[in-house]
Amino acid sequence: MEIFLQLLITGILVGSIYALVALGWTLIYKCSGVLNLAMGELTLIGAYVCLTFYHWGIPFVLALFFTLVIGFILGILTEIIFLRPMVGEPHLAVIMVTVGLAFFFKGLVMLIWGTDTVVFSPPVFPIQPVFLGKVVVGQVFLWAFVASIILLVAFVSFFKFTKWGLSMQATADDEMAALSLGVNAKVVYALAWAIAFMAAGVGGTLLGNINGLNISVGYLGLLVLPAVVLGGLNSIPGAIVGGLVIGILQNLADGYLSRFTPGGVKEVFPFAVMVIVLLFKPYGLWGWVRIERV
């Protein structure tokens, strides 16, 4: 029972980071219909940028803030240069542009920062674990959870209460109607990418704090795909719940199933879950069901 609780809580804490990244992903899909396969590389870039700032001696909170700013700029640039010419092109072409971006960003990251694992030194968070009842949790996880929740709340309230957030919702709902009501779709798309970059950057930084930073953090970014499929592609609550569930399932699988296999369950279990979800509930928990007519 204690093991179960331990796994569950760790899962929720890690899952909150996935939820943050998944939120960014869903946002792009909702607003512009682009399926972004470069999410892992966005997390990488954010993480390395933050690490660089931190190693320059800038305090962590400030470094994180600069990462957000840089993410914002990079997101808008990416949208203008690569995604804007693709508006109205076939879906596969747009997806493959993001695959191209993934390779491009990954190549650049490896070129600039190398492939060795680097850690935040001195460590950002104290190493001593925290005891929640009988459950032991590293402080990194706890702070990551707090940061993710703050950002999640910030982003969700941005959608609910600000003018730009509302225009993003309107574009997601019906692009034509939004355009005719005077919503500037270009700004909305650029904003969606900027927010995705920011969310991914913070997610990457937090993941990098947990295990050290190398190219495999980008693989963790791929885990948002099972999360969003589980939640339904165009549902923001779905992305958050999906991220948490994937985090929990991953940890439970690691705890209970890895003794039956030679290893590697933790990495593939989310994808196995994804296939099963796709078979039985292809539109996820809260996704829009599309009826296709000829």
Partner: protein, 364 residues
């Protein structure tokens, strides 16, 4: 479809069905065959031949992807999984059961095909993006889990899959160096291209194209879409398995790293750059994607040798040292730019040029 030269008429259906319709095409193809089978291996150095082998392997692997994406409209991002199944099956049969290489290769193809059908099953229910996710899951479940954790362990880690020199032979012909691999590669490429081209212009191929263009309309026209989608997955997986089994010949040892996720994406990139829905496109894409990085590497190498350039651009030696990453970034940029500025791929340009000269000088 391309236009025939001026004043060239067909009188029989047989002429219409012929592969090589004019004397010019006959001459061109014979020259091509002489060049590929005799001149190139005779006069090219070992380095060029090894590059040609990579091109051939890319063509073989991308052919299945072309079939699925270009002709049947089923996007796959996990094709390396089927290559891996083919390669591992072939190696296991060959080394553990001592089955002759050609039979092992075909068995590898069949296992690859069946594996592909297994992950193509969801295509009966889902399509588009959701299918992309399923095939991606195929990649991770097969290569990262099934093969890395289970199959590689057979006979102790790494022992069963190192291929001793001279183990691969077809009858009396022992495939021992790059030149032998080259001949095998050329034969396989020609064979698979012919099979693919004939499939595509048969009833099966027309059904696939109908599914690609509009699956619901195809169903109302009486195409059994589940059957034909699964058939497409089988044939694509079969091609993939053959490609994997072929690549065994030029590897010292088979390992999961040869079939990682990046390679699956690379194959999709190859057909996008070459041209989707065109067999020429596969070949052009493979050539482009292999030769451009090699050319780039050569260029950087030459520039580094000259101190003048190194003074101007002090980052050059670093680029050469980390060329793998430069290649990856260049590949990504190439895909993105091709899709933005040349969405029909190289084969479309080729088609335009060919038709221009076919109708020259009266192009109207």
């Amino acid at each position: 479809m391309s236009y025939r030269p001026c004043g060239n008429y067909h009188q029989y259906y047989k002429q219409d069905h012929a592969w090589w319709q004019t004397k010019f095409v006959w001459g061109k193809m014979i020259l091509l065959f002489i060049a590929v089978f005799y001149l190139f291996p005779q006069f090219a150095g070992m380095y060029l031949i090894s590059i040609a082998n990579v091109v051939g392997y890319t063509i073989l692997s991308a052919m299945g992807v072309q079939l699925l994406i270009g002709y049947c409209g089923q996007v796959t991002l996990g094709h390396a999984a089927f290559l891996a199944m083919g390669a591992y099956t072939c190696t296991l049969l060959m080394l553990q059961l001592h089955i002759p290489y050609p039979i092992a290769m075909v068995m590898g193809g069949i296992v690859g095909g069946l594996w592909s059908v297994l992950f193509g099953l969801p295509s009966a229910r889902v399509k588009g993006f959701y299918l992309i996710m399923t095939t991606m899951a195929a990649q991770f479940l097969t290569v990262e889990f099934f093969i890395t954790q289970y199959v590689s362990q057979i006979g102790g880690r790494g022992v069963a899959f190192s291929i001793p020199p001279g183990a691969v032979k077809i009858g009396p012909w022992m495939i021992k160096d790059d030149k032998d691999v080259y001949y095998l590669m050329v034969i396989l490429v020609v064979l698979l291209t012919v099979i693919m081209a004939n499939l595509v212009r048969s009833k099966i191929g027309r059904a696939w194209i109908a599914i690609r263009d509009n699956d619901i309309a195809a169903e109302t026209m009486g195409v059994n879409i589940v059957l034909y989608k699964l058939l497409a997955f089988f044939v694509a997986g079969f091609f993939g398995g053959i490609a994997g089994a072929f690549w065994v010949t030029s590897l010292a040892a088979v390992s999961p790293e040869h079939f990682h996720f990046g390679w699956s994406l690379w194959l999709v990139g190859v057909i996008l750059i070459g041209g989707v829905g065109s067999i020429h496109g596969t070949i052009f894409g493979a050539l482009f994607m292999t030769l451009i990085p090699e050319g780039l590497k050569f260029l950087i190498f030459v520039l580094t040798q000259n101190p003048v350039f190194v003074d101007i651009m002090p980052f050059l030696p670093l680029l050469l040292e980390k060329f793998l990453f430069v290649k990856e970034a260049a590949f990504g940029l190439a895909i993105a730019l091709f899709l933005i500025y040349e969405p029909n791929g190289i084969s479309y340009r080729w088609w335009q040029i060919k038709n221009y000269f076919n109708l020259w000088p009266f192009s109207y």
